[in-house]
């Protein structure tokens, strides 16, 4: 008997690891008609792992001080061996993550997987999306470039339109009247500790919900029917389904490989895609560069604020849209999940996606 087998037997006799693995891998059955969109959760877990690893590596050389931050990032890019690779993966990775998050949300919406009994899974997932955007926003300031400085100035300034507390909110967010060292300090703390801790807890809760409630069956095929309403807990089983391992893990691995290829493709062949010229100049609080714009995933909000007659109205519209999405499972209570039987929802869905894309493109070229 080999040493590895002996050690595995030793651990198994005490902790029953093989049983846990069996229950969660080979005996964990998924619906037979499960599709590739269900892999996006595993894709996101992988991408977030890459972000955490590269983020820790960047912390070794990054200096969160307004006098040093830009220089330390330049040093990472130009002097530290492979620093450019670590930093570019981190910066591009954040964009790929937002893309995967949006696709994950859109697929869940389209297949109605947010519906009872998965309301809490949806709420946790949507909060994860908001937290991720928060991490993007706080991380954007850290290089202390002209782009960082002015994008953060504009982003924090929009809170000024909040009734009664506008000015105080802006000062609180910035830690002072203007973006400066206090802003960098609090954004750094949030980016590397505050948000990731909350994020980790929410991810665990999200995964717990997914596993506890069971994977939802895709609402396609002639034999699909809504589960009977139940007031007690019921784990959704899929007798006769495909095992998670190795069948679905292989599909997970293929889609993860696709996203990693996309990430590395941008890193190696279009590294400047997410770095406009203002990202290469140190922050200057006295000179606003022309045409400063937020990242692509905030362009819809940017354009909404420009189009509506007052910034308050713009913020209110955005707030309502986000709240509606967060509370969607509690508003849309019909058990029907088949897109073909939900024409009103699908129309709103298509219009919503089209509006998001149109506002983003308009914001980009305006």
């Amino acid at each position: 008997m080999g040493l590895g087998k002996k050690m595995a037997d030793f651990i198994d006799a005490r902790l029953g690891i093989r049983d846990i693995l069996e229950q969660n891998l080979t005996k964990y059955l998924l619906p037979r008609n499960i599709n590739a969109w269900y892999t996006l959760g595993a894709v996101l877990l992988t991408l977030f792992t890459v972000q955490i690893a590269t983020g820790i590596l960047l912390l070794i050389y990054y200096n969160p001080n307004t006098d040093e931050a830009f220089r330390s990032v330049q040093r990472i890019m130009n002097e530290v061996p492979f620093g450019w690779l670590i930093r570019t993966i981190h910066a591009v990775g954040s964009n790929i993550i937002v893309l995967a998050l949006l696709l994950h949300m859109l697929s869940v919406l389209f297949m109605g997987s947010y519906k009872r009994p998965r309301e809490l899974t949806w709420v946790a997932g949507f909060l994860l999306l908001l937290l991720s955007l928060g991490m993007c926003l706080t991380g954007y300031l850290l290089p202390w470039s002209q782009l960082s400085f002015w994008a953060t100035t504009v982003a924090t300034n929009s809170s000024q339109e909040l009734p009664m507390i506008g000015d105080a909110a802006v000062r609180f967010l910035r830690g002072g009247a203007m973006v400066g060292q206090p802003t960098l300090g609090r954004f750094f703390a949030l980016h590397v500790m505050g948000f990731p801790l909350l994020f980790g807890m929410l991810v665990l809760f999200h995964l717990f919900c997914v596993r506890r409630v069971g994977i939802s069956r895709p609402p396609f095929g002639h034999d699909w029917q809504a589960p009977p309403p139940s007031t007690t807990f019921r784990h959704e089983e899929h007798p006769g389904g495909i095992p998670f391992f190795p069948h679905y893990v292989a599909k997970d691995a293929a889609i993860i490989a696709f996203f990693l290829a996309l990430l590395l493709g941008v890193v190696f062949f279009a590294p400047g895609l997410f770095f406009p010229p203002a990202a290469f100049e140190p922050a200057d609080p006295f000179v606003t560069p022309p045409g400063i714009k937020p990242e692509w995933y905030f362009l819809w909000a940017y354009q909404t604020l420009k189009l509506l007659p007052s910034e308050f109205l713009g913020l209110a519209v955005q707030g309502v849209a986000v709240t509606l999405l967060l509370l969607l499972p509690f508003l849309d209570r019909s058990p029907e999940r088949r897109p073909s039987r939900r024409p009103l929802f699908v129309s709103a869905y298509v219009l919503g996606v089209a509006l998001f894309v149109a506002l983003s493109v308009w914001g980009h070229y305006s």
């Binding site: 590596l57 002097e79 530290v80 061996p81 492979f82 620093g83 670590i86």
Partner: protein, 139 residues
Amino acid sequence: MEVSSRRKFLVLSLSTLGALVAGVAAYPLFRYLSPQPTGGEKGRVNIPRAQVGAGQAHFFQFRGHPAVVLQSAPGVFAAFSAICTHLGCIIRWLPENGEFLCPCHAGRFAGDGKVLGGPPPKPLQAIPVALSGDNLLVG
């Protein structure tokens, strides 16, 4: 092909691929984490002679490590690494005793670097020093 040999082939192929990917990822990581050359690691240090009075010691950075230059008698200069040979603490100069003391475990060194007492196993590492006009050239 039998199922077991097909499985073996798959495991071997995936393990090889995994090892290759791990190797490709490990090299940049190793280089990223390796100490960076700080510059001047082979250079000499110029110290104004006036900074080192007779019977006095002057501490400075030499090739990334603490070092000390001493004028033990008028015009007699000696330079040493300031790292105690026992466990790596930094020695200090006691002008009243004319000797170096390591504050960690009371190792004592003479002005020429030799061990006078305590646990240090060997003398302080000497560094060449030369007088050049009003400057001391160390290294």
